[in-house]
Symmetry: C2
């Protein structure tokens, strides 16, 4: 990595912690056995123990039981398993599900696929800050509804939904509640001994664990059918040879994610938000205006009268890596569907820029980013036709 | 790892090569970016390049095009994608598929699942050596058949099917041909510029690559629908953040698998087979009797009048790790379905023992294994009730 570069793009902010890699290494070569082997010699037993330990670390963080944690290949697979697995289990009985219009595309595209099979979906609208309307949620649930899927923190604008309230509604209406907590896990408390969620998507790489591993929390007794067929591993919900090293890395990443980090990230978030919106003219924060209702590492802004792409390119030239709001999802230049759902114009949806702050960043970097953004805004606006026209 | 131990179980024989881990390391921390990022700073570009390079290494080994290689989370997912993806694409047009009765359970269980959706499957029988009857295959294909799925090398008994002949039949009957080459890839040549296969399952961990990564070869133009929904990565066939380190490890593992290794493994295979069947009374080789028609690393035998489990336990006590024939698939003590399909009695199906030889083994180890097996056989038979009764 180039040390002079400041990394605030969501990829950099998810790089693997060296201590995670360290923890994984023995499970590549020394303790490699298939964790489910019957007559286990010692490397096999160590692999089994390591898998159990990782599962337990994740379960404890959620106040869940070990057997409620199903390892998968990542957040996308977990979301697919949750939605399709629940749908299949209700097939012929109930055929309606509900999600928000700003879910990750692995949720919305799973819904679309289910629609092709005869299910139907209600996509809840969100307000200008990205919050779901709880009354609309309540009104949308009918006797055919089997599942509500609403994310914890939004991947672009960082808005945090009120999971307690949503869970309460789902319980009272007797429908399953799935939440995609890929972005929030370990950054925010999720106490599943109290929160009435039935299915929770988790991802390792958002917390400096490895790519290619995630998990789905499945509350005991939740009716769900496996979506990959083969062997009987992961409590018969996810076949395939266990990725022991990956699970170990995930467990270690959870262990290393502390509330101290979150405090530091919150402090940097606050500094960056203040700097961008107060020290630079016409910069607006997208998503929740209350920073406590945002993912700790997320800042998403629009620079009025400047295209987001231009700001990103100019930041890149000045050694600051960020991305446009929707860059994770599309290589095209389509406006962010999250911003559009929040009711913004094409222009503002296009212009959004996402900063993802991780524990690898420093407060000093935030200052440099604000300063650099101010220069870029001044320089770009001085040549912008939009600016000259006073639009 | 305990150095005095001889590892011939299929888990040990798939441990990761240290050079593979070495190759992966930079992609955990230094070049971590999402490979599909739009405005890529240099770590992102390096991740993209590494992914492309790994894909190219695999494609070249198969004489395929880069864009025909779709990375997945492993062989199980690849088999699911091949069968369900093809089925979905033929839904409403053709509803019949064919596989052998000794396929990996990720194939047969995918078939069972498809049957629950209205498809039907012909499970081809196999002969005593595990070979599919080509006439039966030809006779089973009708106008409703869309896919034939027959593995290259069997996971338990090592029998290699005649892919050329099967492919020719499929082409002439205009049905898709999928082969699960998880066990054989790089150990045996697969030249897809000549072999008429449309879908080929590949796995990294069988060749000392990492767990949690595999691929599906999809011949250009093959009608197949993605099974996980979300983003557009992997040519819109497999969404999810790319596991760059995993793909790099897979590519490196392919690079490191040479014909020299295969020669050495073949030599050890031959020595082990000869020793077990000639130096010990009443040991029979399961699967193809022609070693050239077996996976290079596979030896599967039954010790008449002794239970396989006992031999495995006694070998374990003498520092030799092997497994029973079906251990990969079931923690129960059910007899191997592969052996049963080959027409053997419960007793013989129960008693089979699988040795998996890798490049980490030595010819000297083969001698020690034969010697130890001879002692164990002598000792167990002297106390066996079956033996005393002269059964």
């Amino acid at each position: 990595m180039e040390s002079s570069m400041i990394y605030l793009d969501n990829a950099a902010s998810t790089r693997v912690d060296p201590r995670v890699v360290e923890a994984m290494l023995p499970y590549f070569h020394d303790y490699y056995a298939v964790a489910s082997s019957e007559f286990s010699h010692s490397p096999g037993l160590k692999a089994r123990e390591a898998l159990d330990h990782a599962r337990n670390t994740i379960a404890r963080r959620l106040k869940a039981r070990d057997e409620e944690i199903v390892f998968t290949s990542g957040g996308t697979e977990s979301n697919n398993l949750a939605l399709k697995g629940a749908a299949q289990s209700f097939q012929g009985k109930r055929n309606h599900l509900i999600c928000s219009s700003i879910e990750h595309n692995s949720v919305t595209h799973s819904c679309k696929w289910l629609e092709s099979l005869g299910f139907h979906t209600t996509y809840l609208s969100v307000d200008q800050e990205g919050f779901v309307d709880l009354n609309q949620l309540e009104d949308s649930i009918d006797e055919n509804t089997f599942l509500v899927s609403i994310q914890h923190g939004n991947q672009e604008v960082g808005t945090l939904q009120n999971l307690e309230a949503i869970g309460k509604i789902c319980r009272s209406k007797e429908v399953l509640f799935h939440t995609d907590a890929s972005q929030s896990f370990t950054f925010l408390e999720l106490d599943l001994s109290r929160l009435p969620a039935d299915l929770v998507t988790l991802s390792a790489h958002k917390i400096h664990g490895p790519r290619g591993v995630g998990a789905l929390y499945v509350r005991q007794g939740t009716p769900i059918k496996k979506q990959l067929h083969g062997g009987y591993s992961e409590f018969d919900l996810r076949p395939g040879t266990e990725n022991v090293a990956g699970a170990v890395g995930f467990g270690k990443a959870v262990e290393l994610s502390t509330s101290e980090h979150v405090k530091r990230i919150r402090m940097m978030q606050s500094r960056l938000a203040d700097g961008l919106t107060h020290d630079i003219d016409d910069v607006v924060l997208n998503g929740s205006q209350d920073l406590n209702k945002r993912l700790p590492g997320n800042i998403n802004v629009s620079f009025n009268r400047i295209e987001g792409e231009s700001v990103v390119l100019h930041l890149d030239m000045r050694q600051i890596a960020v991305i446009t709001g929707s860059a994770c999802f599309s290589r095209s230049l389509e406006p962010s569907y999250v911003m559009m759902a929040m009711g913004f114009s094409h222009e503002r949806a296009h212009g959004s820029i996402r900063f993802t702050i991780s524990r690898f960043n420093t407060p000093e970097e935030m200052n440099r980013v604000v300063e650099t953004c101010r220069e870029i805004a001044r320089s770009l606006r001085s040549i912008s036709p939009l600016h000259k026209q006073g639009v």
